[in-house]
Symmetry: C2
Subunit: 133 residues, 2 copies
């Protein structure tokens, strides 16, 4: 087993074999999204330089941007004191959120106790994900 | 039920009733730590303006900084498109990591496939958490 594979294996994964990855903009440090990786997804992310995840809802291995083209070019990978979470700096192509916002965290809690949209729409999801394309 | 309580209840919690919270520095946006909140911890975080969590390892409600004094003053709370993750901007007192680093993400993956410490130690954990204090 090479060193990288050993390092990846030594991270702490949850009962489903997953580790959360906080994807952040490499320049501004803005959090783009949080998704989950298994060992294979992390190894493939390092190998290709493009973020890969495990989709919990679809139960499948997933290249971020495989349908939209909105890939994430990885610049740096960090782990925390417990080795159970990753922070990954990346250059985001177009936008991270499938709803058309640059960051998935486009809603802020107001003093009234409600979510308010504060992010700007970068693209129209109906156009990007249209059927048949 | 008031609006805030309704908003908190409408978030998506995992099977253990928890939602991950990515704590970020309000000014630099650096990720400080990732921890988990239940509904009570989030409500108490909003009410007091100080970050509270649910400790999965200790199975207890927890004011961040209760033993170290290294509290987090919350400035803004965001949620994502799936309503299953929070990003919380805060002013960190002293440091976030119990190992003495400002951020828990103080190790970076090198080209050799190893973790390298890149964060700076802000305090000595042996001093801050010493027995009997």
């Amino acid at each position: 087993m090479d060193k990288l594979q050993e390092t990846i294996s030594n991270l702490k994964y949850d009962d489903s074999g997953l580790i959360p990855a906080v994807m952040v903009d490499a320049e501004t440090k803005q959090v783009l999204m949080v998704a989950y990786m298994n060992e294979t997804a992390l190894a493939e992310t390092v190998r290709t330089g493009k973020a890969h995840f495990w989709s919990r809802s679809r139960q499948k291995f997933w290249l971020k941007g495989e349908s939209s083209g909105h890939t994430q070019d990885v610049k740096a990978i960090y782990t925390d004191c417990d080795s159970d979470t990753l922070v990954i700096e990346a250059v985001q192509n177009v936008a991270a959120c499938h709803k058309g916002y640059y960051s998935c965290f486009y809603r802020k809690l107001t003093d009234n106790g409600e979510w308010k949209v504060v992010g700007q729409r970068v693209f129209d999801p109906d156009e990007v994900y249209k059927k048949g394309s």
